[in-house]
């Protein structure tokens, strides 16, 4: 097979992980970093080659009747549950997986290069690169999965790589608890995913994506209209599977782990918690979209959760003071855009533009959000703080970073001709196409996006000019600025990619035509947001404080993320630990074990009581003998009479 070399994108990072993980401690820091980066470069080249061959190759059978075919490059049996239910480990190339290959390898390579500078001098540098390789391996395995169980396997593996990287600074208690929280919250969501897979596979008798999605009607009808609590079992399965996706993609109310995950090193946040892993949920729904499309109820749940999360996260992002948290909530909000876009996608509306838009936004967002995070890393590196209050006027000290960050902000706000404009516009088209409610809703959120991003921008680069003392911030080294420049350029031009030609729900080409009524209004809203931010934050003034005082209640609630973390704290500590675990442990020690001890004690005291009979004194024995003899005699006599 022509594309069989794609397998190497999985093998190289895996080998790198084992190599750096085992032999890393023995080698120098620089060596380990450079080996890791070079291996990633090779992986990227192979990934690009595979993706380009897939999209532009002229091989027979790659495109039939204008439909791009799904190509299974490799499929090895890994575990055979039953004759039909078999977990295979394979590589499936189709438009979305090929696109993801590009996204993951690009961002991962940039992060590898950037980290050479950012993580310089950190303890555990080799371990860091080993974990990055593990993550890259798992994420690529996830997107290339040929069956849902393979996806679940790699899903867990990205979860654990995320855990290890968030907790990279493992001596800091905040990092440890953040990593724990991230893992447990996503694990909880994965429980839904697992049960969903079990239900789905029980009725369809297959894990295979191609089999499931090529004929969704047949897959659904095998359930024979079985219902549970009034809903079809397939609806349950799909909703539960989406729950897994919502956990990884930080959808409300499972989003709480993502802001805390910012405790990890910033390049990790860029790679895992902005560009790749957190969009796994979007990818999952996209992968199974033909099935979701048949179930209107599941789509409605997806749309509603996505739309609510988008607004919620944008509201919180407007008032945060830690720059990584602002970016984290912005990520949640943007992913919610993609989810909503999938939810509103209907093949009969504009040829399923929602699906294409979602994937397009995933692509552009990965680029500009990675850019923003890497900029944030450079800024944090320069001022040694995450707080906006420690920043201001940085445009003079860090010109490259300034320009790159501005590009990122313009892109995310959706200003023509930056990448975000094109993808967000398509999402709005899809939303308006489905219902005006969703369209208006998302437009409002888009305006808020522009506002909070420019608030961030002005607070960092303008606002006031604090006294940095003898520690003047300065531009980052070349290893860190190169990725910024590269991703900045991508964020400018990526919008002009004719994305619809490559990725659509039915894998046929689709010609994007910009609907200027929607586009114009969305630019107008973004501009309003930017102007508002300019007025409020360009120069130091007291308008923000005044507003905050005026809406004190709302401001405080948003600042505390509407108390979602407190709610979770309450549920886990006050209910699960205090009301379930402790009583069970008590019950076990006191009641169950107590019964056993009681049995032992009763036996013991009974023995003690009986012991007196065996006194060893002859008189007592004769006494017993006499009583016994008389008793027997009496009984015998009574019986005889």
């Amino acid at each position: 097979m022509e594309l069989s070399y794609t397998v190497a994108v999985l093998i190289i990072p895996l080998v790198m992980f084992l190599f750096l993980g085992i032999a890393g401690v023995k080698m120098g820091k620089k060596t380990a970093g450079i080996i890791g980066t070079l291996a990633m470069l090779v992986t990227t080249v192979i990934a690009y080659a595979a993706a380009f061959t897939y999209f532009f190759g002229t091989d027979q059978g790659q495109v039939i009747d204008g439909v791009r075919q799904q190509i299974t490059v490799m499929d090895l049996t890994w575990l055979e549950f039953t004759k039909h239910l078999v977990i295979k480990i394979g590589v499936l190339l189709d438009p979305i997986s090929a696109m993801m290959l590009i996204v993951i390898s690009t961002v991962s390579l940039m992060v590898h290069i950037y980290s050479l500078g950012y993580m310089d001098g950190e303890r555990g540098f080799q371990r860091y690169y080993a974990f990055l390789s593990l993550f890259t391996f798992s994420m690529l395995g996830l997107v290339l999965a040929t069956n849902i169980f393979q996806m679940y396997i790699f899903w867990e593996l990205v979860g654990v790589s995320s855990y290890l990287l968030i907790g990279f600074y493992y001596t800091l208690p905040a990092a440890v608890s953040a990593s724990k929280k991230a893992f447990i919250v996503t694990r909880f969501a994965d429980l839904g995913f697992l049960v969903g897979i079990l239900i789905l596979s029980y009725y369809t008798n297959t894990f295979d994506f191609v089999a499931l999605t090529s004929d969704p009607q047949a897959a659904i009808s095998t359930a024979g209209g079985a219902t549970f609590l009034g809903c079809s079992v397939m609806g349950w399965a799909l909703t539960l599977i989406f729950m897994g996706g919502a956990g990884k993609s930080a959808m409300f109310p499972l989003h709480i782990w993502l802001p805390d995950a910012m405790e990890g090193p910033t390049p990790v946040s860029a790679l895992i918690h902005a560009a790749t892993m957190v969009v796994a949920g979007v990818y999952l729904v996209a992968r199974m979209f033909p099935l979701y499309y048949v179930d209107e109820g599941a789509l409605l749940i997806i749309t509603a959760i996505g739309a609510f999360t988008a607004l919620y996260a944008a509201a919180v992002a407007c008032v945060q003071s830690d720059i990584k948290r602002v970016l984290a909530f912005s990520t949640i909000s943007q992913i919610a855009f993609m989810i909503t876009s999938l939810g509103v996608a209907r093949p009969e509306l504009h040829e399923g533009v929602g699906y294409m838009a979602s994937m397009f936004h995933l692509f552009t967002h990965a680029m500009f959000k990675a850019l923003l995070f890497l900029c944030a890393g450079a800024i944090i590196h320069a001022v040694h703080s995450n707080e906006m209050s420690a920043m201001g006027g940085l445009r003079k000290y860090m010109p490259i970073c300034h320009i790159a960050f501005l590009i990122g902000c313009l892109a995310i706000s959706g200003i023509w001709p930056f990448a975000g404009f094109f993808s967000k516009d398509e999402i709005l088209v899809a939303a308006y196409g489905n219902s005006t409610v969703w369209g208006v809703w998302l437009s409002v959120v888009a305006g808020m996006t522009a506002f909070y991003m420019f608030r961030l921008y002005y607070k960092i680069f303008w606002w006031n000019n604090p006294d940095y003392g003898h520690h003047t911030p300065h531009e980052a080294p070349m290893t860190m600025t190169f990725p910024l420049i590269f991703l900045g350029l991508v964020s400018i031009v990526a919008g002009f990619i004719p994305f619809g030609e490559f990725v659509t729900w039915n894998r046929e080409a689709y010609h994007i035509h910009i609907d200027w009524t929607v586009a114009g209004s969305s630019i107008a809203i973004a501009v309003v947001g930017i102007v508002l931010a300019t007025v409020m934050y360009r120069k130091e003034n007291n308008i923000p404080e005044m507003l905050a005082n005026k809406f004190r209640g709302l401001w405080t609630a948003a600042y505390h993320r509407f108390y979602m973390d407190e709610l979770y704290q309450f549920i886990t500590h006050k209910i699960i630990f205090a009301r379930i675990s402790r009583p069970i442990a008590w019950f076990d020690r006191r009641i169950i074990d107590g019964t056993m001890d009681l049995l032992a004690n009763v036996t013991n005291s009974a023995s003690f009581a009986i012991r007196r009979m065996q006194s060893g004194s002859l008189q007592t024995y004769v006494w017993f003998y006499l009583v016994g003899a008389v008793a027997i005699a009496v009984i015998t006599i009574i019986c005889l009479i």
Binding site: T77, W78, L79, E80, F81, T82, L85, I87, F149, I153, F154, E156, L157, V160, Y163, G167, Y170, T171, L172, P173, V176, S177, S179, K180, F183, I184, R187, F188, D190, L191, L194, V195, L198, I199, S201, Y202, F577, I580, S581, R582, I584, A585, D588, I592, D593, T595, M596, A600
Partner: protein, 500 residues
């Protein structure tokens, strides 16, 4: 000839070790004998797998291979009957691995190393004897041989409240044996149809299939509970936390790693296999109990503060999963049960080995008094994290494979009762993550709690060997599950056809 059967050597080698040890004069000789014996057992176990697969590949499809039988006690028709199928083979391999790792984990045993290893060998004799026997009486005998040394191993070499624990463990397991004895005798008297020769041979009993249904109602619970006590079935599990907490490292390893598997294996081999009717009728009672075990153990583990207690409760949860899966009565779940036995055996042994090594350094097992050990002892720390990840079911390590096989198998039942309990069991993957990450976070990460700990050293070579052996085994199952899956499911399938 008795000597021509490879299986008998699994009993002979530990007995030879026992003899050799009794002649040893110093700890060096003790170590030499123990290492030689354990290595020989491991090689023999691997050789057995090769031979076994060779015979299967050559087309030998009989239920048990390497069968042999010698009359032992004529009046009761008791034989020394040997034979293995795929399930026993993997259990033998598991035992060999854990005995090997256990020897290196107790390299510096003090005091009385010679006596310790002698009891250890006797225990191994019992374990291997149990897995190679197909005669109920010899099985029971080897079972008792494995249990009794436990009393002395804990009572003499243990720590903490060891007298209480040793007594409790032995008495509770003996209580189980009493049920078992009753069950076995009952089965014996109904082992053949009217007028036929009564037998203790499991294969023959299964063939005769003569146990009346009303007797099955009585004998199935007897045998299932009898073995269930050892398999830590709720509510008969309370020997496990105290017993493990007091036992010395290698004994915890062998006990949680292998001995508790005797319970699961026995439930399957005697209770389910010989009494399929009652198994089907009464499964719901025990499914309820084991389903409770799974979440109950996991929740209890969440609030423990002693490392060994956490692990003991985690074992209750994981072993509960074994019995739970066996009771699902289908091939996939049964395969999952055996995989879980393998997986739990290896990773619990790994856990207990590491806990022993950490305890040997810090002299405390209270997680509140420890912290930040990762930086001080990175090797042990990484080992602990790997064991933890295996326990919470990370793909690529053994736990995931076993649990998924069990869940998929359990999901083959479409009725509400099985569904609900399966989903309850699935919930354990979240709770397991909670208690594992809690302990990993407190023990290994964060700031160092005790200034004293900063002077501690990392693992020595024998500790590393013990750890690495187990990690490799855990990873091998996790990465190439289909090899094990094939051996096991092929053995489970014909038996589970009884229920189809």
């Amino acid at each position: 000839m008795i000597w021509s059967n490879i299986l008998i050597y699994f009993v002979i080698i530990p007995l030879l070790m026992l003899g050799g040890l009794s002649l040893c004069k110093n700890i060096k000789q003790v170590r030499a004998v123990a290492t030689t014996g354990a290595t020989a057992l491991m090689i023999l176990a691997i050789y057995l797998v090769v031979e076994f697969l060779g015979l299967r590949a050559a087309g030998d499809t009989s239920e048990m291979l390497f069968t042999d039988s010698w009359m032992w006690f004529e009046p009761l028709n008791i034989h020394l009957a040997l034979g293995v199928d795929g399930i026993s083979v993997v259990m033998i391999v598991l035992s060999a691995f854990i005995v090997f790792a256990g020897v290196f984990a107790s390299w510096k045993m003090d005091p009385l190393p010679k006596e310790f290893f002698m009891w250890f060998c006797l225990l191994s004799t019992g374990v291997f004897g149990f897995f190679i026997s197909i005669d109920m009486f010899t099985m029971f005998m080897f079972y008792e041989v494995a249990l009794i040394p436990m009393y002395l191993l804990i009572g003499v070499w243990g720590s903490g409240n060891k007298n209480y624990s040793a007594m409790k463990l032995t008495l509770m397991l003996m209580g189980g044996s009493a049920f078992l004895m009753l069950g076995i005798i009952g089965i014996y008297y109904h082992s053949a149809p009217e007028g036929g020769a009564l037998t203790m041979n499991i294969l023959e009993i299964a063939q005769n299939n003569a146990i009346p249904q009303n007797w099955q109602y009585f004998l199935f619970p007897m045998t299932f509970v009898g073995f269930g006590v050892l398999g830590a079935m709720f509510p008969f599990h309370t020997w496990s936390p105290d017993g493990h907490a007091s036992a010395p490292t290698a004994v915890s390893m062998l006990h949680a790693g292998v001995l508790m598997k005797l319970g699961g294996y026995g439930c399957f081999r005697i209770a389910i296999y010989l009494m399929p009717f009652a198994a089907q009728e009464l499964a719901w009672i025990f499914l309820t109990l084991t389903g409770i075990s799974v979440v109950y153990g996991a929740f209890s583990a969440c609030v423990q503060t002693d490392l060994k207690y956490i692990n003991a409760y985690s074992s209750v949860s994981h072993c509960g999963m074994v019995l739970f899966a066996i009771l699902m009565l289908n091939t996939t779940a049964m395969t999952g049960a055996v995989l879980q036995m393998l997986s739990h055996g290896l990773m619990t042994a790994l856990f207990f080995a590491l806990i022993g090594m950490i305890y040997g350094r810090t002299h405390t097992r209270d997680i509140r008094k420890m912290g930040g050990l990762m930086r001080i002892m990175p090797f042990l720390g990484v080992g602990y994290v790997i064991a933890g990840l295996a326990s919470l079911g990370l793909p690529g390590l053994s736990g995931f494979v076993a649990e998924m096989t069990i869940f998929v198998g359990s999901f083959q039942h479409a009725d509400m009762f099985h569904r609900v309990f399966t989903i309850v069991a699935c919930c354990s993957i979240v709770i397991t993550a909670v208690y594992i990450l809690r302990v990993v976070g407190k023990l290994l990460f964060g700031p160092v709690q005790d200034e004293h700990h900063k002077t501690l050293t990392d693992a020595e070579w024998h500790e590393r060997l013990s750890t690495v052996t187990l990690i490799i085994a855990v990873a091998a199952i996790g990465c190439f599950p289909n090899f094990f899956n094939g051996i096991i499911s092929e053995a489970a399938a014909p038996i589970m056809e009884l229920f189809a």
